[in-house]
Protein backbone atom coordinates (compact mmCIF):
# COMPACT_ATOMS: atom_id res chain seq x y z
CA UNK A 1 0.00 0.00 0.00
CA UNK A 2 1.27 3.46 -0.85
CA UNK A 3 2.15 5.44 2.31
CA UNK A 4 0.25 8.58 3.23
CA UNK A 5 2.13 11.61 1.82
CA UNK A 6 3.62 13.81 4.56
CA UNK A 7 1.75 16.91 3.37
CA UNK A 8 -1.60 15.20 4.03
CA UNK A 9 -0.59 13.70 7.36
CA UNK A 10 -1.95 15.60 10.34
CA UNK A 11 0.64 17.25 12.56
CA UNK A 12 0.26 16.50 16.21
CA UNK A 13 1.11 18.26 19.42
CA UNK A 14 1.49 16.64 22.82
CA UNK A 15 0.34 18.77 25.75
CA UNK A 16 1.79 17.85 29.13
CA UNK A 17 -0.43 18.84 32.04
CA UNK A 18 -0.61 18.38 35.79
CA UNK A 19 -3.69 18.06 37.96
CA UNK A 20 -3.48 19.76 41.36
CA UNK A 21 -6.06 18.51 43.81
CA UNK A 22 -6.38 17.00 47.27
CA UNK A 23 -7.72 13.81 45.62
CA UNK A 24 -5.76 11.45 43.33
CA UNK A 25 -7.45 10.52 40.07
CA UNK A 26 -7.25 7.54 37.75
CA UNK A 27 -6.75 7.73 33.98
CA UNK A 28 -10.40 6.80 33.38
CA UNK A 29 -11.66 9.67 35.56
CA UNK A 30 -9.46 12.20 33.76
CA UNK A 31 -10.55 10.80 30.39
CA UNK A 32 -14.22 11.18 31.33
CA UNK A 33 -13.75 14.75 32.58
CA UNK A 34 -11.79 15.66 29.43
CA UNK A 35 -14.43 14.17 27.14
CA UNK A 36 -17.21 16.00 29.01
CA UNK A 37 -15.52 19.36 28.77
CA UNK A 38 -14.55 18.96 25.09
CA UNK A 39 -18.08 17.90 24.11
CA UNK A 40 -19.58 20.73 26.16
CA UNK A 41 -17.39 23.38 24.55
CA UNK A 42 -16.61 22.39 20.94
CA UNK A 43 -19.10 19.57 20.43
CA UNK A 44 -18.88 16.38 18.43
CA UNK A 45 -17.58 17.93 15.20
CA UNK A 46 -14.88 19.86 17.01
CA UNK A 47 -13.86 16.76 18.93
CA UNK A 48 -13.55 14.81 15.68
CA UNK A 49 -11.53 17.53 13.93
CA UNK A 50 -9.21 18.07 16.87
CA UNK A 51 -8.66 14.29 17.24
CA UNK A 52 -7.77 14.82 20.88
CA UNK A 53 -6.76 11.86 23.00
CA UNK A 54 -5.46 11.35 26.50
CA UNK A 55 -2.36 9.41 25.51
CA UNK A 56 -0.87 8.82 28.95
CA UNK A 57 -1.65 9.57 32.56
CA UNK A 58 0.82 8.88 35.32
CA UNK A 59 -1.33 8.32 38.40
CA UNK A 60 1.58 8.61 40.82
CA UNK A 61 2.60 12.07 39.56
CA UNK A 62 -0.90 13.10 38.42
CA UNK A 63 0.69 14.20 35.17
CA UNK A 64 -0.74 13.41 31.75
CA UNK A 65 -0.26 13.91 28.02
CA UNK A 66 -3.01 14.96 25.62
CA UNK A 67 -2.53 14.54 21.89
CA UNK A 68 -4.18 17.07 19.57
CA UNK A 69 -3.68 18.36 16.02
CA UNK A 70 -1.55 21.49 15.82
CA UNK A 71 -4.42 23.55 14.39
CA UNK A 72 -6.63 22.79 17.39
CA UNK A 73 -4.02 23.34 20.08
CA UNK A 74 -5.33 26.77 21.12
CA UNK A 75 -8.94 25.58 20.86
CA UNK A 76 -8.14 22.77 23.28
CA UNK A 77 -6.54 25.28 25.66
CA UNK A 78 -9.79 27.26 25.61
CA UNK A 79 -11.70 24.02 26.33
CA UNK A 80 -9.42 23.14 29.21
CA UNK A 81 -10.04 26.58 30.71
CA UNK A 82 -13.60 25.35 31.35
CA UNK A 83 -12.42 22.24 33.21
CA UNK A 84 -13.27 22.86 36.86
CA UNK A 85 -14.08 19.46 38.33
CA UNK A 86 -12.95 15.87 37.96
CA UNK A 87 -15.24 13.28 39.54
CA UNK A 88 -16.99 16.04 41.58
CA UNK A 89 -13.71 17.31 43.02
CA UNK A 90 -12.40 20.80 42.30
CA UNK A 91 -9.07 20.79 40.45
CA UNK A 92 -6.43 23.23 39.24
CA UNK A 93 -5.07 22.35 35.82
CA UNK A 94 -1.53 23.42 35.09
CA UNK A 95 -0.01 23.13 31.62
CA UNK A 96 3.65 22.24 31.74
CA UNK A 97 4.84 22.04 28.14
CA UNK A 98 3.74 21.40 24.57
CA UNK A 99 5.95 19.12 22.48
CA UNK A 100 5.95 17.72 18.97
CA UNK A 101 6.76 14.11 19.83
CA UNK A 102 5.60 11.67 22.51
CA UNK A 103 9.23 10.69 23.14
CA UNK A 104 10.14 14.25 24.11
CA UNK A 105 7.03 14.50 26.29
CA UNK A 106 8.05 11.35 28.18
CA UNK A 107 11.56 12.74 28.70
CA UNK A 108 10.12 15.92 30.21
CA UNK A 109 7.81 13.96 32.52
CA UNK A 110 10.72 11.79 33.73
CA UNK A 111 12.61 14.93 34.73
CA UNK A 112 9.69 16.30 36.75
CA UNK A 113 10.11 16.11 40.50
CA UNK A 114 6.61 15.72 41.90
Amino acid sequence: MKPFPPILRERRRYIIFKINSSQKFTKREIEKALTDVVFRTIGLFGAVDSSYWLVKFYEDKQVGVIRVTNEFKDVLFACLAFLEEVNNHKVILKLIKTTGTIKKAEEIIKKLNY
Binding site: F77, L80, I92, L93
Partner: protein, 155 residues
Protein backbone atom coordinates in the same frame (compact mmCIF):
# COMPACT_ATOMS: atom_id res chain seq x y z
CA UNK B 1 2.33 38.05 32.59
CA UNK B 2 -0.20 39.32 35.12
CA UNK B 3 -3.67 38.44 36.36
CA UNK B 4 -6.43 39.94 38.47
CA UNK B 5 -7.35 37.79 41.47
CA UNK B 6 -8.70 38.06 44.98
CA UNK B 7 -6.36 39.65 47.55
CA UNK B 8 -5.87 36.43 49.54
CA UNK B 9 -4.45 34.58 46.49
CA UNK B 10 -1.72 37.09 45.70
CA UNK B 11 1.14 34.87 46.89
CA UNK B 12 0.19 32.06 44.46
CA UNK B 13 1.43 33.94 41.36
CA UNK B 14 4.77 32.16 40.97
CA UNK B 15 3.20 28.75 41.47
CA UNK B 16 0.93 29.31 38.47
CA UNK B 17 3.71 30.82 36.33
CA UNK B 18 2.64 34.46 36.54
CA UNK B 19 4.94 37.37 37.28
CA UNK B 20 2.48 39.01 39.66
CA UNK B 21 -1.15 38.91 40.68
CA UNK B 22 -3.04 42.16 41.07
CA UNK B 23 -5.96 42.57 43.41
CA UNK B 24 -8.75 45.09 43.90
CA UNK B 25 -6.68 46.82 46.57
CA UNK B 26 -4.00 47.88 44.08
CA UNK B 27 -6.15 48.74 41.08
CA UNK B 28 -9.44 50.64 41.15
CA UNK B 29 -11.79 48.10 39.59
CA UNK B 30 -15.52 48.54 39.20
CA UNK B 31 -17.86 45.70 38.31
CA UNK B 32 -20.01 46.58 35.30
CA UNK B 33 -23.25 45.05 34.12
CA UNK B 34 -26.17 47.18 33.03
CA UNK B 35 -25.85 49.85 30.38
CA UNK B 36 -26.39 52.82 32.70
CA UNK B 37 -23.97 51.41 35.26
CA UNK B 38 -21.29 50.89 32.60
CA UNK B 39 -21.76 54.47 31.42
CA UNK B 40 -21.48 55.82 34.97
CA UNK B 41 -18.32 53.84 35.66
CA UNK B 42 -16.44 54.91 32.54
CA UNK B 43 -17.38 58.57 33.20
CA UNK B 44 -16.37 58.45 36.87
CA UNK B 45 -13.01 59.86 37.88
CA UNK B 46 -10.32 57.58 39.27
CA UNK B 47 -11.68 54.31 37.88
CA UNK B 48 -8.96 52.30 36.16
CA UNK B 49 -10.75 49.12 35.12
CA UNK B 50 -14.32 48.33 34.13
CA UNK B 51 -14.80 44.63 34.85
CA UNK B 52 -17.28 42.55 32.84
CA UNK B 53 -19.38 45.26 31.15
CA UNK B 54 -21.72 42.61 29.76
CA UNK B 55 -24.77 40.64 30.82
CA UNK B 56 -27.32 38.38 29.12
CA UNK B 57 -28.66 41.33 27.14
CA UNK B 58 -26.51 43.68 25.07
CA UNK B 59 -25.11 46.21 27.52
CA UNK B 60 -21.95 47.36 25.80
CA UNK B 61 -21.77 49.64 22.78
CA UNK B 62 -19.31 51.77 20.84
CA UNK B 63 -20.24 54.88 22.85
CA UNK B 64 -19.10 53.30 26.12
CA UNK B 65 -15.96 51.99 24.42
CA UNK B 66 -15.16 55.49 23.12
CA UNK B 67 -15.74 57.14 26.54
CA UNK B 68 -13.59 54.44 28.18
CA UNK B 69 -10.81 55.15 25.71
CA UNK B 70 -11.02 58.92 26.25
CA UNK B 71 -10.96 58.51 30.06
CA UNK B 72 -8.23 55.85 29.92
CA UNK B 73 -10.37 53.15 31.49
CA UNK B 74 -9.38 49.57 30.67
CA UNK B 75 -12.04 46.98 29.93
CA UNK B 76 -11.56 43.64 31.67
CA UNK B 77 -13.25 40.32 30.90
CA UNK B 78 -13.04 37.55 33.46
CA UNK B 79 -13.20 33.81 32.92
CA UNK B 80 -14.65 33.22 36.37
CA UNK B 81 -17.83 35.12 35.53
CA UNK B 82 -18.44 32.74 32.59
CA UNK B 83 -17.73 29.62 34.62
CA UNK B 84 -20.26 30.57 37.27
CA UNK B 85 -23.07 30.48 34.71
CA UNK B 86 -24.71 27.39 33.30
CA UNK B 87 -26.76 26.47 30.24
CA UNK B 88 -28.29 29.10 27.98
CA UNK B 89 -27.19 31.91 30.31
CA UNK B 90 -23.56 30.96 29.69
CA UNK B 91 -24.17 30.92 25.94
CA UNK B 92 -25.78 34.38 25.91
CA UNK B 93 -23.15 35.82 28.21
CA UNK B 94 -20.28 34.48 26.07
CA UNK B 95 -21.92 35.73 22.89
CA UNK B 96 -22.23 39.24 24.32
CA UNK B 97 -18.71 39.05 25.65
CA UNK B 98 -17.38 38.17 22.19
CA UNK B 99 -19.23 41.13 20.70
CA UNK B 100 -17.89 43.46 23.39
CA UNK B 101 -14.33 42.28 22.73
CA UNK B 102 -14.85 42.90 19.03
CA UNK B 103 -15.97 46.48 19.74
CA UNK B 104 -13.06 47.05 22.13
CA UNK B 105 -10.54 45.83 19.56
CA UNK B 106 -12.09 48.03 16.89
CA UNK B 107 -11.98 51.08 19.16
CA UNK B 108 -8.47 50.14 20.33
CA UNK B 109 -9.37 50.00 23.99
CA UNK B 110 -7.04 48.54 26.58
CA UNK B 111 -8.51 45.05 26.92
CA UNK B 112 -7.60 42.85 29.89
CA UNK B 113 -8.36 39.13 30.11
CA UNK B 114 -8.26 37.81 33.65
CA UNK B 115 -9.35 34.86 35.73
CA UNK B 116 -10.73 37.00 38.62
CA UNK B 117 -10.31 33.99 40.88
CA UNK B 118 -11.86 34.25 44.33
CA UNK B 119 -10.84 30.78 45.54
CA UNK B 120 -7.65 28.78 45.04
CA UNK B 121 -9.26 26.21 42.75
CA UNK B 122 -10.44 28.98 40.42
CA UNK B 123 -6.88 29.96 39.46
CA UNK B 124 -6.03 29.40 35.81
CA UNK B 125 -2.85 28.74 33.88
CA UNK B 126 -1.42 31.37 31.47
CA UNK B 127 -1.97 29.21 28.39
CA UNK B 128 -5.59 28.57 29.35
CA UNK B 129 -6.22 32.31 29.63
CA UNK B 130 -4.52 32.86 26.25
CA UNK B 131 -6.78 30.16 24.79
CA UNK B 132 -9.82 31.86 26.30
CA UNK B 133 -8.71 35.24 24.86
CA UNK B 134 -8.33 33.65 21.43
CA UNK B 135 -11.77 32.13 21.74
CA UNK B 136 -13.12 35.64 22.40
CA UNK B 137 -11.76 36.75 19.04
CA UNK B 138 -8.25 37.93 19.71
CA UNK B 139 -5.15 36.97 17.79
CA UNK B 140 -2.19 35.45 19.61
CA UNK B 141 -0.25 38.78 19.96
CA UNK B 142 -3.42 40.54 21.16
CA UNK B 143 -4.07 37.76 23.70
CA UNK B 144 -0.53 38.02 25.03
CA UNK B 145 -0.84 41.83 25.13
CA UNK B 146 -4.03 41.55 27.19
CA UNK B 147 -2.17 39.54 29.85
CA UNK B 148 1.02 41.54 29.84
CA UNK B 149 1.34 45.07 28.47
CA UNK B 150 -2.32 45.91 29.19
CA UNK B 151 -1.45 46.09 32.90
CA UNK B 152 1.50 48.43 32.44
CA UNK B 153 -0.64 51.55 32.34
CA UNK B 154 -2.36 50.57 35.59
CA UNK B 155 0.72 50.05 37.73
Amino acid sequence: MYDLVSDKLKNKAEEMGFEKYFSEKEIKIKQGGELELNRKIVRAKGVQVLLNPVSFTKEFDTAIAQIAKDNEVSIAFSLNSVLKLKGIQQVLYLRNMKEAVKICLKKKNNVIICSNAQEENELKDINLLIGFAMFLGMTMPQAKWSLNQAYEGLI
